[in-house]
């Protein structure tokens, strides 16, 4: 996998992970182009498109688009599976994840992604193991997602 982007329906980038070395300028251009292309697609269209020399696999979950770029020989369906797995992980971790979770806790979203994928390859296919690793690390960080969940309720009320 070359990179993964998360962005909202309004085209706001929520998370980006690059597995290939690119300059900031190129990254910005690529994400801008892709966000535009994907948002222009109709909802009934399939999840794949050919873009430059890459294959783009994307899927929309509620208000968020998850979008991965893979190489020509890669398997589109398994990429779709990776996206779905990641969403499930976020869901388990945050407890019915919403866009706000990722905005306010974007570093957590990254940590989960890093436990799941490494260098663009799936490193752990068991959801349980990923969550276990995250919990352990959180424990070390003296961070408890339970605390956050309380803050989230507070925040949601506020916004």
């Amino acid at each position: 996998m070359q990179f993964m982007l998360l962005f909202s329906r309004q085209g706001k980038l929520r998370l980006q992970k690059w597995y290939v070395p690119l300059s900031d300028k190129e990254r910005k251009k690529i994400s801008r182009d892709l966000v535009q292309t994907i948002l222009a697609r109709k909802p009934k269209m399939c999840s794949f498109l050919e873009w430059r020399d890459l294959k783009i696999v994307y899927k929309r979950y509620a208000s968020l688009y998850f979008c991965c770029a893979v190489e020509d020989q890669d398997n589109e369906l398994i990429t779709l599976e990776i996206i779905h797995r990641y969403v499930e992980l976020l869901d388990k971790y945050f407890g019915s994840v919403c866009e706000l979770d990722i905005i306010f806790n974007f570093e957590k979203a990254y940590f989960i992604l890093d436990e799941f994928l490494l260098g663009g390859e799936a490193q752990e296919t068991s959801k349980k193991n990923v969550l276990k690793a995250i919990e352990q690390a959180d424990l070390l960080q003296e961070f408890n997602i339970g605390t956050f969940k309380e803050i989230k309720i507070f925040l949601l009320g506020e916004i």
Binding site: W18, M45, L49, E76, L77, E107, G119, S126, A137
Partner: protein
């Protein structure tokens, strides 16, 4: 818990944390930029503090801002500070920031090496984990080199959590620091059998990725992977393993057989679509493209999985309601189509259904597939369906796509699949009714192309175009339709140029001179004006034949009345043409008034038929004697005096006589024979079919074509242009025609049978109609490749040197369809007694047969060739068991051969391309190999693909966009007995070593009832000699060169060589591209230069050669090759 909340809010009282920042940004939607700039100022303050918690908080906020697109590279050092915190909380944030913000050019990365090493060896596995994760994002070649050992140690860590991360990151390390692969590989291999499934899967991942890049190093792992494949149930791992086998099988075909069972099982049993897709994809696709397209064909054979199985499975995917599966099914189908067109074609119905899908990308995929699926039989049907979709389609982009696809489908491979061009013309005319298309010019160029190349269709085309012109207002009435008015350009030109076919030229002339024409774009008006003149000539001719002379005068008056409109045009081209023609017509009118017959003279202005010309036709025109295309018209200023002088070489005096191109002299008899052979060839060539004049008559009586009512109402609504025939009727007519043909055939068949009085011919008269049975109704002139008049293969090699020019003419006359005869005749230096092809070739029969003839031939040529220093040869190269192909290569001598175990003998002569002897260094890495393909069998050969396995040093130049393993399509097809030449450019980096490149030629042998894939393996041998260019050198320059001391010395003894000294020299000149600098008795100095500018100097004596060169390796190899040459005599 409550305490923590309190603690959190206390923190917030002092500093803005990430949540505050996010909330702040959301609350300042109007002045976001301003708000963020104040935030960045705050962050800068925070970073100045000593408290690491504050710093980490600031870095965390920066990471967020970085994602929003703000530049945070200024804080790189602070990120490193946070990374090196001993507390995991901060370290984690630091590494995250680094992985998001750092890239290879970030200079502070250098500072992190020791910190990362420390973290990697930390007793806390999460410290290590976080460092590994971070490293995977920003590893640089330096980091990879310094940390490779540490990571390698981690691959055997006690915790699987670390092992798996370490294994995965090794892949990134290999990419940045390839030297680490060798020492790390044994351990990586070990990890394939790790007890932890996660680690195992990571190792499979890494090896699969590595094998995709260079499969042959991983062949030894095949048994291990085979075991994994049959035992693993993890789909993720299985997919990777299948991919890996996809890369390995082409290298080891025996693997294919073993794979059949497990793959078939998987295909049948798996419920995971991703795995099924991978199986189908790998078996028929991945291996078909990289790494070795030529061998993949054999993979399919080896696997011998019936393509039906895969196609059936794909059908299930396509029929699924899930858009994604549908799309992928079509994608995979289009790739199977390339190798198994038949099995895909049977699913035409399904593909056509996909055109109705609501997803545009699926429709486009289906269109792509259709392009490859058409045949003579189904073209009309498919296009008819597409035309329906054109009418239905919403959105101009998709409709335009449909339009271009229809034209692509019909026009592919020189209209190969069109059997009835009247049908095609009417399709084109129907397409002009499309609203708002941008592709008017495309339709126009098709109309022109067909009208020019298909002579039989001209009458019909002209009638159609006249109708179009008459109804031009329908096309131009609406401003939106401006794109389509390009069609009028073609219509006007066709009506003018082929006006003799017009039913009513007067009417068309009037249509072309309507005032409304002035609203058309300038370039179209210009064509209108010019062709109105052509029409005028035709009209005059017909009218002057009549007794009534007033009609002709009225026509002139019409021209004089209407043309001034164009004379006023703002477009210069229109204006110029109009005023010219106006004056001409005025003059004609004057003559007419004096009762002078002018029609003859006027039509003489436009006399002469326009014939299609091949794009390469210019090449066929022989260069007239004495014309030197490469000589300077004005001598350029001399750069070095020594090279400007004439060389004082011994052969120099005789040279001019032989440097002119020799042309083959052929007598009448020979010509007649060739003509006969050519006819034979044309008869066999499916693309060269004589026109059948009868078909035209039938259709001209088609109803409604002639009398078209002119409706002068400007309608803005798109209407069907009245009177234009519907293409549909042709489908019917075509069906009838085919039936008739079939019936006739049957009759003939019956007659034959009667004559033979035997019932054996039965198989012909029943069963479905095969492709070849369908004869086109019209003939297309195909002129893209070879002009039919040329059965002689000729090519010129111009070798230009600064002071003189030698043109070498290679030619071979080849009596066609006579395989017994000597297939090629070679011209070569007479001193070369035997070509290596002959003496080394014990396995093939053909060369032996020819050798006696060749000797005779040689004698004849002896005198002519004797002193040609640079001569060329054409050599018979290959005779396989099948005798399908003869590869002959021509070029400068440097003959090499290699005998393969399959009894195929090859001989290639890389022809070094020389533009300027001064050694254009940009060109110094290019070598052109020209190969002549000759079809010796009775079948039609097509889809030839030439592929060479690139080495690090030499690469076949491929067109942009194609992968490094793609084959090059040979741009022609070969009917039986035909040969053609193709050139392949290689980029060579280092020329100091000889090279052998392995290659494969794949092609399809098409018989009447079957077509099979075949392949031929060959080796290309680039000798060092072939990189040398004969370069003249003068004795003083030569002496200077030797004195310079830059050259390394070497020598070789020539043992057992007993030939006259001048033969010896000639041989070196001829075979190794040297020129003689000076000769004194039995001692001579010789010089040559490589394409990269290496100097090679020889001092040749009767028994030994002393040599000097600035590149010792090159010299050694050249000397070896010289020795080889002499050891063969």
């Amino acid at each position: 818990m409550a305490l923590k909340i309190v603690k959190g809010s206390i923190d917030r009282m002092f500093d803005k944390n990430l949540q505050d920042l996010v909330r702040g940004i959301r609350n300042h939607k109007e002045d976001e930029a301003k708000y963020i700039s104040t935030c960045i100022d705050e962050i800068k303050q925070e970073l100045k503090q000593d408290n690491i918690a504050v710093k980490a908080n600031a870095v965390c906020k920066l990471t967020y801002l970085q994602m929003l697109g703000y530049d945070v590279s200024w804080a790189a050092f602070n990120i490193v500070e946070v990374m090196s915190s001993s507390k995991f909380t901060y370290k984690r944030i630091g590494y995250l920031a680094a992985s998001q913000c750092f890239h290879e050019s970030t200079d502070v990365i250098m500072l992190t090496t020791n910190q990362i090493r420390k973290d990697l060896s930390s007793p806390n596995q999460y410290d290590t984990g976080v460092a590994l994760t971070g490293l995977s994002c920003f590893v640089t070649p330096d980091l990879a080199r310094d940390l490779a050992n540490d990571i390698m140690t981690l691959m055997s860590h006690t915790k699987p959590y670390i092992r798996k991360k370490a294994v995965l990151i090794m892949y990134k390390v290999f990419l940045k620091y390839p030297e680490s692969l060798r020492p790390a590989f044994p351990r990586l291999k070990e990890k394939l059998e790790d007890p932890d499934p996660g680690v195992q899967s990571a190792a499979v991942n890494v090896i699969c990725e590595l094998a995709r890049r260079n499969p042959k190093n991983y062949l030894s792992l095949a048994p291990l992977f085979f075991k994994l494949m049959t035992s693993s149930t993890n789909n993720w791992v299985l997919i990777k393993i299948i991919k890996l086998f996809g890369a390995l099988t082409p290298l080891e075909p025996r693997l294919g057989k073993k794979l059949i069972e497990p793959l078939t099982n998987l295909i049948h049993s798996t419920s995971a679509m991703s795995l099924l897709y991978e199986c189908v994809n790998t078996v028929y696709i991945d291996v078909n493209t990289p790494p070795l397209p030529s061998l993949s064909l054999s993979l399919c054979l080896y696997l011998s999985l019936p393509p039906q199985l895969c196609v059936q499975k794909l059908r299930i995917l396509i029929e699924d309601s899930d858009q994604n599966l549908k799309y992928l099914g079509l994608l995979a189908m289009s790739k199977i189509l390339k190798t198994h067109p038949k099995s895909v074609q049977s699913h035409k119905d399904l593909i056509l259904q996909c055109l109705d899908d609501k997803d545009e990308s699926i429709r486009l995929r289906a269109l792509d597939l259709l392009y490859g699926m058409v045949s003579k039989k189904n073209l009309m049907e498919i296009v008819k369906k597409l035309m329906l979709h054109v009418d239905k389609a919403e959105g101009t982009t998709y409709r335009d796509e449909l339009l271009t696809k229809i034209i692509d489908i019909c026009s592919q491979s020189n209209y190969q699949y069109i059997t009835n061009f009247e049908w095609y013309i009417s399709i084109l005319v129907e397409l002009t009714r499309l609203e708002g298309t941008r592709h008017g010019h495309l339709i126009a160029s098709q109309m022109l192309d067909v009208a020019i190349r298909v002579k039989a269709i001209r009458g019909f085309a002209v009638a159609q175009m006249a109708t179009l012109l008459d109804n031009a207002h329908l096309l131009t009435g609406n401003m939106q339709r401006m794109g389509i008015c390009e069609v009028l350009y073609a219509a006007a030109w066709i009506c003018g140029e082929f006006s003799e076919h017009l039913e009513n030229p007067m009417q068309t002339l009037e249509a072309m001179l309507r005032p409304k024409v002035a609203t058309l774009p300038g370039h179209i008006q210009a064509v209108y004006v010019q062709n109105a003149a052509k029409l005028f000539a035709t009209v005059l001719k017909s009218q002057e034949g009549n007794t009534d002379s007033t009609a002709a005068q009225e026509t002139s008056q019409l021209m004089i009345d209407r043309l001034p409109l164009f004379v006023q045009s703002a477009n210069l081209e229109v204006q110029e043409r109009a005023s010219c023609i106006l004056q001409l017509v005025k003059y004609i009118q004057k003559l007419q008034q004096k009762d002078v017959e002018v029609a003859e003279e006027v039509s003489a202005l436009f006399a002469g038929e326009l014939n299609p010309v091949a794009p390469k036709a210019q090449k066929k025109v022989p260069v007239p004697e004495g014309l030197d295309l490469d000589s300077w018209i004005n001598e350029p200023p001399s750069e070095s005096e020594s090279e400007d002088e004439q060389p004082k070489a011994i052969f120099a005096k005789e040279e001019p006589k032989h440097s002119r191109p020799r042309r083959e002299e052929v007598d009448e008899k020979e010509l007649a024979k060739r003509r006969e052979a050519r006819k034979q060839e044309q008869a066999n060539n499916p693309f060269y079919i004589k026109a059948s004049p009868s078909s035209q008559k039938v259709y001209q009586e088609a109803p409604g074509v002639e009398h078209i009512p002119v409706v002068q109402i400007d309608l803005s609504v798109p209407l069907k242009v009245p009177g234009l025939p519907m293409s549909d009727q042709y489908v019917k007519l075509e069906e009838e025609r085919r039936q008739k043909e079939r019936a006739e055939k049957k009759k003939k068949e019956k007659k034959k049978r009667k004559e033979k009085r035997s019932g054996r011919g039965k198989k012909h008269d029943s069963g479905p109609e095969s492709e070849e049975d369908i004869t086109p109704a019209h003939q297309v002139d195909i002129v893209t490749e070879e002009m039919p008049e040329w059965s002689i293969i000729t090519s010129y090699i111009f070798i230009k040197t600064k002071s003189y020019c030698v043109t070498v003419h290679v030619c071979s006359s080849r009596p066609l369809a006579d395989s017994e005869k000597l297939p090629v005749r070679s011209h070569r230096a007479a001193e070369a007694p035997k070509s290596p092809t002959e003496d080394g070739d014990a396995t093939s029969q053909e060369p032996k047969k020819k050798s006696s003839k060749e000797k005779r031939e040689k004698k004849k040529d002896k005198d002519r060739d004797r002193k040609v220093r640079i001569s060329t040869g054409l050599f018979l190269c290959l005779l396989g068991n099948h005798s399908h192909l003869i590869l002959v290569s021509s070029g400068l001598p440097g003959i090499n051969k290699c005998i393969q175990k399959s009894k195929l003998v090859f001989c290639f002569l890389p022809l070094t391309k020389v533009y300027d002897i001064q050694g254009n260094l940009q060109d110094g890495s290019q070598v052109v190999v020209s190969v002549i393909f000759e079809n010796k069998c009775d079948s039609f050969l097509k889809s030839m693909e030439f592929n060479v396995l690139d080495s690090l040093n030499s690469k076949l130049q491929r067109p942009e966009g194609s992968g490094p393993h793609d084959g090059l399509t040979v741009p022609f097809q070969l009917p039986p007995g035909v040969s053609n030449e193709a050139r392949f450019v290689f980029t060579v980096q280092s020329i100091i070593m000889p090279q052998k490149l392995k290659g494969t030629l794949t092609f399809i042998v098409k018989n009447e009832d079957s077509s099979t894939h075949e392949k031929l393996d060959f080796k290309l041998h680039f000798t060092c000699t072939s990189y040398l260019i004969t370069t003249p050198c003068y004795s003083d320059a030569f002496a200077k060169l030797l004195e310079s001391g830059d050259l390394k010395c070497s020598s070789v003894r020539l043992e057992g060589v007993n030939m006259p000294f001048h033969h010896l020299l000639a041989r070196i000149c001829f075979h190794h591209h040297f020129s003689v600098v000076e000769r004194i008795d039995s001692c001579a100095s010789m010089y040559s230069r490589s394409i990269q500018g290496h100097h090679v100097c020889l001092l040749v004596k009767t028994v030994s050669i002393d040599a000097k060169c600035d590149e010792p390796t090159l010299l050694g190899n050249v000397l070896d090759e010289i020795k080889q040459t002499f050891s063969q005599c």
